[in-house]
Symmetry: D2
Subunit: 345 residues, 4 copies
């Protein structure tokens, strides 16, 4: 079978859009169609994405229904709240993969509490590694790509919850992250001079919008009444998330049992890799790769499991996960066009 | 009063030794005496500490009792295990301030479990902000400077424990840190190419040697049977620790009560600064300063207090704390020679 | 003599203003008076300068003549073009030290060509290391602080030009720099995600505004018809400039002659340090210090002198140089309040 | 045609070896054979290359003739001086691509002066963009991959020299670089704490081993008696070179003429990209890509052409260039398995 998919990217000038295009350039079944954006419309893509030389001369179009029509796949990498209007106007048979938050949460109350706007609904959730989720995604025509922090925390803890090794009450997640997840918005705290040589916390105390998404995922994994204390920490690297995730371990569970659970759930996963004992994840190992590296420890004195996950927030955390979902939805081999080898060092 | 203290530094060629000398150069009561080291003995200090221009031509001496004798103060910045032999041979009236771990722990069993060698004893613990500790340090002639991680975690949680707001059981600490705390040892994972653009965890699962020291401090603050899940995370900056510390909050304790406790304990502390509401610590604000910046949040849904502390591991985390203790021990104003303004951005 | 100077800073919320305040906090003769700014007026300083804890509660005032009156010294750290109006309204007996470019150039044509606005005049140029310049600055009441790149290139080449060792025609300067010199302006290329892990050139081909200032300084050092090819390169560090400066060497000049010239000109300079043979400058050695580190080489095959200078663009490159000039103008010891030991590593 | 090449990598545990393997994993005609090294022999590759998950369980073999025999292609990524012995023992029909310096220089005197050892000879030089070089490389069975700095400087200046626009006498090259080019050697100045937040020069004054290679290339491009003043500058990023290259411009040559020459030479080059006017190269745009980004300016006042090149020292600067040469030597399309889109931001 030779398939050629015509693919559009809305929000092509941002960081997520740029990463989507970088991956799509290497995807053997994809022909890149319309590239759209807001304020950069009419300009060559080279101005906003100088690294995408093969597309340098492509002109950015306005994000309109007309420009996005007549594609097999439309990726949305738009500011929160902008996806619904665009998606509604597209053919129901077009695969629409939304990298934004709009359709991730199933609970309208959680949405409204954290986003402060009416709930637009929910789409099939694009984390294939969740139990049963591949079936949901096969053939789907609307997919909501997870947030980067929920992807890291969920994959770090999934086997522990799923196999009933931990209590999902009182989960604590602290995730070091580069600023590219915040996009190109011109905010003072995102200036290079502020970030380089410095680490800082933000969204502390349960206020970050990814909290309800983590809880939703823990619930899907089988947790009862989960809670999570989540703190994101900005550190001086463009990309990458290193999530340290801990949860109270049930009595009598030892490291062998933990590793067995992780092997059981992940040995067949193409993009999740449990490191050999003694090795700990580092984000450079997954830079630009559709890969999550994991390691686990049992802290007997503290009574906690510690699971550490590394991923690239723009790749497996956004654009790579989106391409993975496209592959699944359209019946392509799930790994098509996706590398697991990071650009290290 | 005009006092001139003749001060020696053993381990003058390492990172802690260099920071001690940088601070001592600006201390109005100090005359810098012998600078000693191991393998660099006989070489000019400029080779190992090119930033210390005023001392560029000083020759590094061997670390011997003779070279360290006849000083009012001797700072030890030696590899773990080397301090005891040096200290024993020094005049009991000489103030000896040890930046290493050898004399920090009071519990021989804890020492032996984490360090794997016989316990050398314990000295007055150089964290003046601990309840009652200034009295202990005044007039002391032997001081054990705390580890950088315990300083950050202890100061982050001290008022909460001290005022009985949290349960010290099930404390979780995740601390992002630069690699200078590991010293100049030539290990592959400390190479710049490995660290830049990357975050990685190490010492996970309760194995880091600073765990028993944190617990000892929590105990001094009034905690019953504390536990701590501690994970250090290396991030790409030379210096700095950002510690995210969470503990289960007792029922009914709100943010006002928390802030009141922190204000009560810290408003008179010269080196600990609770930020105004809405601001979160960043390590660049305390770079090179003897300062800790703190902020707190109450996560009601998770039932946890989150306290975030920023400090410079080499300054307040080591050398600045050491100078602070020297000031206290010798009756100088505690802030002499110590700045609280970081080198930002 | 005990002198207390009341000092105001206009532009207190920017990077140069913050560094001025950090240094002034440690200056024994200074009392910090009015802190003024534009859009941040009315807000506590802590919002813009969280590292300056001792001034956290000071309210930023508007930059008006009234607010700046009644001070002994006024530092201006304003956007280019804003200094003239403020300075004119201040008492001629007040020392005004301008960190901006407005009064640096003596040649109106050069000013107009590079800045595109009418020339406001020139003030005594605040680089005390230039031949004869200390005499000019002693007692001055208006001082124009040099640009950071011209300071680095001038001090790198001064002895070579001054002693007639090189031809100042065909000087080439390439300077790696952190982005803090560009201030807090919200421009896309200054975002952390753009800068971290990346190096980039800008202002290439003789267009940078510091070119005429370099040529003016080379001329003062004794160069005939100098030319300079200057390229600034942004690299991933908040602060620091490493300037590689090369010029054609006159026949028969060897390294001994070069080092002799540099020693002759700099051995008595408190803030310029020629490194020992075999050592090369690194910016971390001068971080936060009022210091320039230099090294020289003779490339016989290429017929060029290579001089490399490291400085902190915000300290010796701006605020430290400004305080040095204040000391000189008011008859204080030139080194008062200024450290030469950088915050390394 | 479906071709499967069995490919070995000697020096598989270093940075160049790791990058070779990352690229070979994505090459459709390659089957990865023996992975060999020195001290890591017998260990799983995951210990030295944790980012290469698909090869995690491969055991590193010793670098012996036996282990490298029976491959179609052998890449050598060995310390300088080690290649000759290995290469000699391999079948003359095996394609051997050496990433080291041993066979780059044609002039024995230049080799001996800069490397201090007897000249091993020279192989076809693996820079296909040099005039006539593709013909030399087609069918070659021994290829010497260029050094990373010479690749950047040569491609930056090639059209200017080739079209006689500049005088190659008095070329000046200053190149900012990450430390991965220095490999994993445990040297103090390569520690993360030394490199982060700092820029430093090394190999100044015509002493760097890449100087004769640059001159050799300039000569091939048509330069008469070229000279180059070359200064490498370490900056805080793992990978990347930004080379600022200037040369005296012949009278009457304007920017249009320069751009025309660069377009003429490079418009058909798959891996060299002249940016649109107004844009300047940044290394993140070529991170992990087999790509060079270029921009040029004419500085009329200084009488110099300024050409700035960005490349990834490990990709186009080493391993990517090596794969490009393999493709050429074996008659595969030159771009097979090589992406030009960098991993930005």
């Amino acid at each position: 079978m030779h398939m050629t998919l015509r693919v559009a990217v809305a929000g092509a000038t941002g960081y997520a859009g740029g990463e989507l295009l970088r991956l799509l350039l290497g995807h053997p079944a994809v022909e890149i169609g319309a590239l759209t954006a807001g304020s950069s419309a009419g300009r060559p893509l080279a101005e906003s994405q100088p690294h995408l030389v093969p597309l340098a001369d492509r002109t950015v179009l306005e994000t309109t229904t007309e420009n996005l029509a007549d594609h097999d796949v439309v990726f949305l990498a738009l500011p929160h709240g902008a996806s619904a209007a665009v998606a509604e106007a597209l053919d129901p048979e077009t695969l629409v993969v939304d990298c934004g938050a709009d359709f991730r949460l199933t609970d309208p109350a959680a949405w409204e509490k954290f986003y402060g706007s009416p709930h637009a609904g929910s789409w099939p959730y694009g984390l294939p590694e969740l139990p049963g989720q591949r079936e949901t995604l096969a053939g789907a025509r609307r997919v909501a790509v997870p947030g980067c922090y929920p992807t890291s925390a969920t994959l770090a803890l999934l086997p522990a919850i799923h196999h009933g090794l931990t209590d999902a009450r009182d989960t604590v997640v602290v995730a070091a992250s580069g600023p590219s997840g915040a996009g190109k918005s011109l905010k003072p705290h995102l200036l290079g001079a502020e970030l380089m040589g410095s680490a800082s916390a933000y969204g502390v105390g349960g206020t970050h919008r990814h909290v309800p998404e983590m809880l939703q995922n823990f619930d899907v994994c089988g947790a009862d009444d989960p809670t999570v204390s989540f703190t994101p920490v900005l550190v001086p690297m463009s990309r990458g998330i290193l999530a340290t995730c801990t949860a109270p371990l049930h009595g009598g569970v030892d490291l062998d049992a933990v590793r067995a659970a992780y092997h059981a759930d992940y040995d067949d996963e193409p993009f999740v890799h449990l490191l050999a004992p003694g090795h700990w994840p580092q984000t450079q190992s997954v830079l630009g790769a559709n890969a999550v590296h994991l390691q686990v420890a049992v802290d007997e004195a503290a009574g906690r499991l510690v699971a550490v996950a590394a991923l690239d927030n723009l790749t497996k955390g956004t654009a790579g996960g989106a391409v993975q979902c496209m592959n699944l939805a359209l019946g392509l081999p799930e790994t098509t066009g996706l590398s697991t080898a990071g650009v290290a060092p």
